[in-house]
């Protein structure tokens, strides 16, 4: 009695694949890492290598957005603004002051984090669409300020001649070297995120996502954890922006249009919010599509849009999301209710 378990009778092949990957997670991760690490050694084509570097950078950026959107349930649309701040911080420090990559990268993260705090503070009372609109506005404000503040940022001319990262006597000018640099950072980023998500802080974020009232009744300080979450996400977005600057060696404000923000969001949504693998998958898929469909030019956007709509309809929790995720369109709650009814039926029977 009372033990009615909600087990989906027919497990979809997708769910099977997900369970399989969960079972052999460590081995699969190791195998994936090895494959990704040796690709540049065996496959020698700068064009494809550049695409892979791009994918890796977007893994960091999409993951950073996922920290905010996927784990605390705040819907941030302004990731491009954070990227912009990170990229400009790093590139200005590198070109004007000649500071080393080892200094500019963490600084880019920290400065972006401070901006994350500044955005989160006044918006703590907002949620849902209102918060999204504020972040959207923030993103545009940042871009326009950068675009028009010619003395400081170079304005429409952008920042030119960003040096290649170089430290400990190693130059990361070659694509291969830069590829490994980014790969190491991706691994560190995902590891840190994994650790934080499995800590008290990570659980507090998730509790806010799932039920704010219950969370605060348990003593979760909503304001504190929400703004911490924003700062955490912004920090990694800043790192991503910094890598952007060093990769392209030239940045201007128009690289950080709202399109860029939506691009990142589509990765998170397609891959699966609220999972660590999701944004990785999303980054691979969206970037591959971008390159594969380059010949279609503007029609690519139509395809993205169609893809997102299709995903929302077919698998709202994203490719990697669990079918019992809260993001799976409230299916879970409905199932929960069905279980209650079943339960009371059974009990009714046993009493009479």
């Amino acid at each position: 009695m009372g033990t009615t378990n909600v087990s989906t009778a027919a497990v979809s092949p997708f769910e099977k694949l997900r369970l399989f990957t969960q079972k052999y997670k460590k081995w699969l991760l190791l195998a994936l890492f090895v494959v990704v690490a040796i690709i540049p050694l065996v496959y020698d084509d700068v064009y494809y290598k550049n695409i892979m570097v791009k994918i890796l950078m977007y893994v960091i950026i999409a993951s950073s957005l996922n920290m905010i959107n996927g784990y605390s349930g705040q819907f941030n649309l302004g990731q491009a603004g954070f990227l912009c701040i990170g990229a400009y911080t790093a590139s200005l420090l590198a070109t004007r002051l000649g500071w080393n990559f080892l200094v500019t990268m963490p600084l880019a993260g920290i400065v972006t984090m401070i901006f994350g705090y500044l955005v989160s503070k006044p918006t703590l009372r907002l949620s849902g669409i209102y918060l999204s609109i504020v972040t959207l506005g923030f993103s545009e404000i940042v871009r326009l300020v950068v675009y028009n503040w010619t003395d400081f940022t170079g304005g429409p001319l952008g920042v030119k001649g960003i040096p290649a990262p170089e430290f400990f006597g190693i130059s990361f000018k070659e694509t291969d070297a830069f590829y490994y640099l980014v790969l190491v950072l991706v691994v560190i980023t995902l590891f840190v995120m994994h650790r934080v998500l499995n800590s008290r802080v990570g659980r507090a974020w998730m509790s806010i996502r799932e039920d704010q009232l219950a969370a605060s009744s348990l003593g979760v300080e909503l304001r504190k954890y929400k703004s911490q979450n924003f700062m955490f996400g912004a920090f990694f977005a800043g790192i991503g922006g910094c890598l952007f600057a060093y990769f392209y060696r030239y940045i201007d404000a128009n690289m950080f249009l709202l399109d860029e923000g939506f691009n990142v969001i589509s990765m998170v949504v397609i891959g699966g919010q609220g999972t660590l693998v999701g944004p990785v998958l999303g980054a691979v898929i969206v970037n591959t599509l971008t390159e594969a469909l380059r010949s279609l030019d503007q029609f690519r956007m139509v395809i993205y849009a169609a893809l997102i709509i299709f995903m929302m309809w077919w698998r709202p929790q994203g490719l990697a999301g669990a079918s019992n995720s809260i993001l799976a369109g409230g299916k879970l709650r409905r199932k929960g209710k069905a279980a209650d009814e079943e339960e009371s039926d059974e009990e009714g029977g046993s009493i009479t």
Binding site: M1, A214, G219, E221, G336, D340, G348
Partner: protein
């Protein structure tokens, strides 16, 4: 232990509580009953600091907590199990329970482990399902999880908001058994119920709320046989 004095709460221009006063003594089960919209949940929410108060004072163990923030109130030893089994659906049972210690400052691993064991002995069914997502539990189990999660912070006062809501009669009995168990372990319980006969039969004292006012008070037994209560809430 808990003293509420002329508490008033408004939601905008809707008046929810029109100055209610009551008190809860150590190690007793006090039950608030009343119809929908009488202000029962609002009372609990204002004790745990989740709604703003328009007037009155709340005193807990001799200190004034009227304006204290929710997380500090939890830290002082009041736990609030909100209405409608608010478990975190995609966190596992164990993660849900761990969330209960969020208000404890720097808990040691042993502390958490010990508290987890305590809950598992009190609620053996949760142990069987520790790895399962909270949302996949049955209604009764979710309610147990919500209560167990509240107990993780080792509170002195446990406030339960309609624990029997939407549960089958036999499960309700089990839950009420557990509530008496909580009292036996030395804690104080403030209970809100629509299931008045059940609640009053285990309560030491009871209060009847009507339209934001306290209209009646007495021991559980007195209220059970009171004609007005019978007519309004017990249905006979």
């Amino acid at each position: 232990m808990l003293k509420i004095n002329k508490l008033r709460v408004n939601y905008g221009y809707v008046i929810a509580l029109r100055g209610i006063s009551f008190h809860v003594d150590e190690n007793e089960i006090v039950c608030l009953i009343g119809a929908n919209g009488a202000g029962k949940s609002t009372t609990l929410m204002s004790i745990s600091g989740l709604v703003d108060k328009a007037g009155g004072t709340i005193e807990f163990k001799g200190s004034d907590i009227t304006g204290t923030k929710p997380h500090e109130i939890v830290r002082m030893g009041i736990c609030h199990v909100p209405e409608g089994r608010q478990v975190f659906p995609s966190l596992s049972v164990e993660e849900n329970l761990r969330m209960g210690t969020i208000s404890v400052q720097k808990p040691t691993k042993q502390y958490i482990q010990q508290k987890l064991e305590e809950q598992y002995t009190l609620f053996p069914r949760l142990k069987e399902r520790r790895k399962q997502a909270g949302g996949t539990l049955s209604g009764g189990e979710q309610q147990m999880l919500a209560i167990a999660r509240g107990l993780m912070s080792d509170p002195e006062l446990v406030m339960l908001d309609e624990p029997s809501l939407g549960l089958a009669p036999i499960v309700v009995e089990e839950i009420f058994e557990l509530i008496q168990g909580i009292k036996r372990s030395g804690k104080t319980v403030l209970l809100i119920e629509q299931n008045a006969s059940m609640a009053l039969s285990i309560a030491d004292r009871g209060y009847v709320l009507e339209n934001g006012r306290m209209v009646l008070t007495g021991t559980g037994r007195e209220l059970l046989v009171n004609e007005d209560v019978k007519r309004a809430y017990l249905g006979d």
